[in-house]
Symmetry: C2
């Protein structure tokens, strides 16, 4: 896929310029988008035969697989704040702790597959992680509007959330708006729900 749009907060911009692990985290997340290609192809081709004809979960799962297998990120990292302090709220989708010069740099990521209000919750969860000192940088990935038209109904898109990016300028936060490399009405459809997902063992934080 391609990164069609991106938001880098002021804080994230400074951090990526100065910190090696921040730069590495940013690069790895970008690669999980760019290396997400159609099976047997070197680009990502999306079936555009009709509105909402593809599932979004296979797109997410392939980005997550790349992060886990190629870059050793973990899935489902509970934050101490949500898990122990307030005992509410789910884990961060994908997480990596970079060891660097006796320090640990913590990066969290969510790929948004819900509707627009769910995207607000994901954004807020990551921002809480930063404010509570449990994440040093956060990433959110969403399709751009053009691509979301052919994905699961009501999946949120980059442009919809964009008016709210002003809420993120005081934290290191990056939002990627990805798009297919090509559209073709003959391309295989992406399965909806969990149908057609090949079984694989995910790298859970808890079992590391």
């Amino acid at each position: 896929m391609i990164i069609a749009k991106q938001f880098i907060s002021r804080e994230a911009d400074a951090l990526i310029a100065q910190s090696a692990p921040a730069y590495q985290a940013y690069e790895e997340v970008m690669c999980s988008i760019k290396n997400n290609v159609s099976p047997g192809k070197d680009i990502f081709i999306l079936n555009d035969s009709q509105k909402n004809c593809n599932g979004v979960v296979p797109v997410k799962e392939e980005c997550y697989r790349i992060l886990e297998e190629d870059y050793h990120w973990y899935r489902e990292k509970p934050l101490t704040y949500f898990h122990e302090d307030v005992q509410k709220g789910g884990p961060i989708d994908v997480y990596k702790a970079f060891s660097f010069r006796d320090t640990v740099f913590m990066a969290g990521l969510e790929f948004e597959t819900g509707n627009i209000s769910s995207a607000h919750r994901s954004m807020n969860k990551l921002r809480v992680g930063i404010i509570k000192g449990e994440l040093d940088i956060a990433f959110l990935m969403m399709p751009i509007k053009r691509m979301s038209f052919y994905l699961t109904d009501r999946v949120s898109n980059y442009e919809e959330l964009e008016p709210y990016f002003v809420l993120l300028d005081d934290v290191p936060f990056v939002i990627f708006g990805f798009d297919a490399d090509e559209y073709n009405s003959d391309a295989p459809l992406l399965a909806k729900g969990k149908d057609g997902m090949s079984p694989r063992t995910i790298r859970r934080w808890q079992s590391r």
Copy 2:
């Protein structure tokens, strides 16, 4: 109803202590909760005969009616940022501009009737209003968990959103968690949806 729980951000606390219109806005919103009583009673009695047996909309509409008729707030105020600049996003539910010593003090309010992710969106919309200089203080009203059990299924409650209040400390923001004065299995049920709402003309900002 009673105000069972409340969050007042540091910024809101200072503002309410120093600014007459901020104090007045806070008082008026509190009154819209406290003066929300069952028809013909002087307290609010909620039917607790079974889970999700009451609609939440009549509770909201009565708070809004009090704000409009007793305190001259307006409904559906579009923010310039959302309405004109980015041309996305709905209006603020209830709004009042207080004229005070040649200045105007702007207060915005939402009564959350959606699920938890929708509550995140409401919170973010109000926070954007403050950051963009279109609101001087923001209020959010939600039932506490005990009360929400007897309201529309999946309506969000104060305790659910509470872990995210840390996101609000840098802006003047107040969140009220209201509760019924009494529970009784013989009390009249509150209608779901728009059924049983008595027709009335709302005070829209656009037609002021």
